[in-house]
Symmetry: D3
Subunit: 248 residues, 6 copies
């Protein structure tokens, strides 16, 4: 059930039986020579919708742009500053909490979002208590990173070993190939690829990771792998969502 | 050409021949008993992609959530506060302007976004000059509202007369029916519908517009109408974009 | 009745019979070689006071500085950023709403203020509901632009035709001449004057509008015209205010 | 020379011989049963204009609303929050500094503004250096409180002794009577008036100062006194401004 | 009693008999060739703890970094911007006020903090009322500057006369020598030292005060003097705190 | 070498051989019936100073108050909101980076700070590039959590097994006992202690963790253990700092 394809009366009805909502969040950032700029949003959205279908949960519109300041030295990247993103997430949750939602499950496609999301959650809980809205105390936010699912992680290791890397990975590229088989990109990939340098400024990032990849070999990706990752993630996160919903 | 389905190297190439980008912006808000909550984002995105295809312009990911505070008394609505939205639009444009873009064409699906977008543009020009980025002086932002295209307006008047109304209109509902024929909604619509009351607070809005419509009869909408609106808007805004691109 | 020339006890008494207040808002910005930098504030203030007298409404102190970032390449211009102006208007309305005012009628002298004012109004309604102040739901803000009054527009067309232009117009200059006949300025005006270029950054503005005028010929202005504009605007906005006050 | 009654070309000319500007700042707040709500703005404006005339300095439009949160339990008071006021003053000074002004002399009518003004000045210096504007290092802001002029203070002591008090004082009321002899207010003033309680919240203020006065007897004020205060303040602050202008 | 060396249950018990808390606030800024960068925090902390012991009041952790933007041209200085510091102080007081504290006594070691602290207090009172927390109206904040104690001032005059100066003073250096006798610094001090120039930007400050001192001769300081200052300040501020606590 | 016990000239000298600085950051929050409210700041400060001594690195004043909103339902807790903390950390790093520091090593005593610190780092890198300060690209921030040192973790497991828990742990209590043996607290600890519930709002936290502990048995702590933890952490983080300093 997709929020944007529902009417407000359908949401009113939904709230009679569930207070939970799934919010896909991605990023719009370079993913190396063959990765799509929308990779993180595409993956998060596809999986979130899969989860939503499998367990009849409502899925909010995807937050397409996240915290990717370290990628902004590559053209096409768009990023919120963390302080902006905190306000954005606060506005989303505040509106929905006033309407009665209390369980916010963010299915996330981008490691760079995690810190800011967690900071936002802390800010939000305090803000909602300050607003004195009913049920403020019951509001719970959780971030679920599809790429950190045990089953996903295990498969990626099996298929790619060290060539999985940590950005523009074959696993995420594979998932986008499964979702968009018509836009599989081809580009020469140097066999050597940097890895191991931590993330600091955008200029520093580009000076160390010249084509945007971090230790990955996305040439290993196939749409069939993508389907496997998709199915594993949907299954694991569906369970994760249900657990989240059922905890007090 | 869609930004999220491109690689950063494709964007680098694109920038050699064009500095323009199209940014669809919608809203996530109630649209009456039969209108989709995502109506404004769906329309803006579909038209923006149509424009992008017709004139080989790049299209950014859709800003799904806009300024809809006055609709927040209906469940399912999500809104940014204007001050948040200014920061969001500032972050988008700043990232892209640093990469070399100078012409920002926002294809907008929601009247409630216009004021905040214009305020954001003013804030952005000054901000970019303060940053001393090259070409700051050349950056230009424009908002193009598909529902205010002459051709669209004229057709809506022809088809619906006064029943077009001003929110949850048959024209926008028709366009979503064209895009998503599989989710056409049916719900009883009271023949009487309020109109003419200005927009103030969310509570005030709901007290005057009890089912969310403003003077409209979306039951008149058909997917065929939607296709007509789509084609008119794509044509008119394609021309609008090219004019914008070509002005100094 | 002017707020700044009243005592707090007089305001307390006033609130027993009316919840309405008029807030003049202008700008401090270049108005071409012969227009006063305070033109927009002077016009808004004069008309607001005229309206206040004619219908016994209270008039707040004039907001002299508005959103004029696009004029800041000309010396003497002072502008708030839109995000600052939203906070300013929020602070004004919040103080007055806590005291019991619910109807805020902004008489505006500057087109550049409109978008930010409207954005501010949306932010304010939500803010007041979050504060849980009594009557939050009844608070209504409206912007009334004197230069867009039908009667004013018609007279300007009659007197000046296309030479009215859109900035440093003869109509607004005339009005300042009526208010301050002792400071009518003389300066050479080139017969050619640019027009039609949209407003973007301050540097861009000045590069297109080298003396600050936009398509106008303020040499046509006379104090007598100014008086006519004043009287028309006062009459039309007095009616506008009363309608606003009386609507639910 | 008044900024709002000048043209931008006159300001351009002025800047060739002086980089100084006078900014009157007041407040819009209760001043007891007989004091005008605009007292602080009226006094600051009148004196600033007097100073401007006596030494050919330019005077900016008056900042009518300042930091008066502690008076907001009395109707008619309007206040900026300190964090808003810092942004406002920053915007004013930034615009003018970019145009070439470097000496900002705030003639202040309200004790409650002092702390926030000084905080703003610190914030501004750092901000201007961050912007890398020419002459950032030369920018100097000063607050000059007319009511703290030695000559003013001495006369107030002579005329009123302890009945000068510290808010809604006879000296400031006298000055407004001199400026606006037509709006001298009459109201019963209880002979007892509280004093000595420090300023905390708005509610606390009103609970201690029930009619708004702090230890003052404004019934002693006369327009003739007001003229004396005006002349002393203009003389002393004219000298103060010149010293400020001439220091390195 | 030190907050950071207490348990939450001890604080709960404390609140049954007192609603007061002492908050030391200093600065981290250059203090000339022989003054410690932490001088202002060291003095405030030592005195605050002395006061806390003498009257059984709880002392919060020291705010080590304050508003010292004007010293930032000297390495080692760290400063908050005033707008940041307002938020910091707001967060401190809000947390503690929600827990039941109502009397906030800031023992301050740095003149540059005073304006921003006072601005913060005003912002806080309004904020707490907006939050509708119980006792919001009773919350009172006060800044007590140890270096402005009458007894301290008098002793400094006696011991140092004009060589006390106004920054990197012998009195504050003496106090740090008393607290940290093991880190007394020796460095050549030019006999001439600038004084009398007001404080503006950081670059301007350093250009006038080349070694960081303002008219002072810290070579006169001794640890024995420091002890005297300490004892005087503790005594005077202990009385000040008790008065503050006992006033309504 | 402690920043607050240095002079600015000593810092100037230090910068000739090192661009690194250690910043201890803790929290002021409840730590169960026997844990000190300052536990996290005490641990971070002690270890940071140990590291600084062992490798001649400079140590900044401790940030005593961090992000502890979830503990604010217990009296004595003070927290910054994440958005405030981002500004604070930004101000610290900006001042020091302007002075020439490029390597910022935050020794952290509180898990709740991690997300906000990382968000702040991202914001800072972008901010410094916007300021065009020299070496902006070289600025690197890292958070090092003493309690997550391998050696610390291993010892805690050995000594306490599952009774280590995750808040008010015996390891951190032990460390404070080593630092402050004179304030070891005694209080009854219920043998049952909740664990496993995630962290959401402050009210939710207290409802699940009634005495503030999360699965821990701090009664196991001894000052001798504390010394062991201290020495392990100092050793491991000294190495960590040197690696950080030496990486490009």
């Amino acid at each position: 059930m997709l929020l944007h394809l529902s009417t407000w009366q359908e949401i009113e009805t939904y709230l009679q039986t569930s207070k939970g909502i799934i919010l896909p969040i991605g990023s719009t950032e370079q993913h190396g020579p063959t990765g799509l700029i929308g990779t993180d949003a595409i993956c998060a959205e596809a999986i979130a919708r899969g989860v939503g279908e499998s367990i009849q949960a409502i899925v909010a519109p995807t937050i397409n742009v996240g915290m990717a300041l370290h990628h902004t030295a590559f053209p096409g990247t768009i990023s919120l500053r963390p302080s902006t993103m905190i306000q954005v997430v606060r506005d989303y949750v505040t509106c929905l909490a006033k309407a009665g939602f209390t369980k916010f499950y963010f299915i996330n496609g981008h490691g760079g979002n995690i810190a800011t999301l967690k900071a936002a959650f802390s800010e939000i809980y305090a803000h909602l208590e300050d607003l004195h809205i009913p049920n403020a105390q019951k509001v719970q936010c959780q971030v679920a990173n599809w790429f950190m699912c045990n089953s996903v992680y295990k498969l990626a290791k099996e298929l790619y070993g060290d060539q999985e890397g940590s950005h523009a990975t074959p696993s995420e590229v594979a998932l986008t190939q499964y979702v968009y088989p018509e836009v599989i990109k081809q580009a020469p990939l140097s066999p050597e690829v940097a890895s191991g340098h931590r993330i600091y400024s955008a200029a520093d990032f580009r000076s160390h990771y010249s084509d945007g990849r971090m230790g990955s070999n996305p040439a290993l990706a196939t749409p069939e792998h993508g389907q496997q990752f998709y199915e594993l993630a949907v299954k694991e996160l569906s369970n994760g969502y249900l657990e989240f919903l059922n905890q007090d």
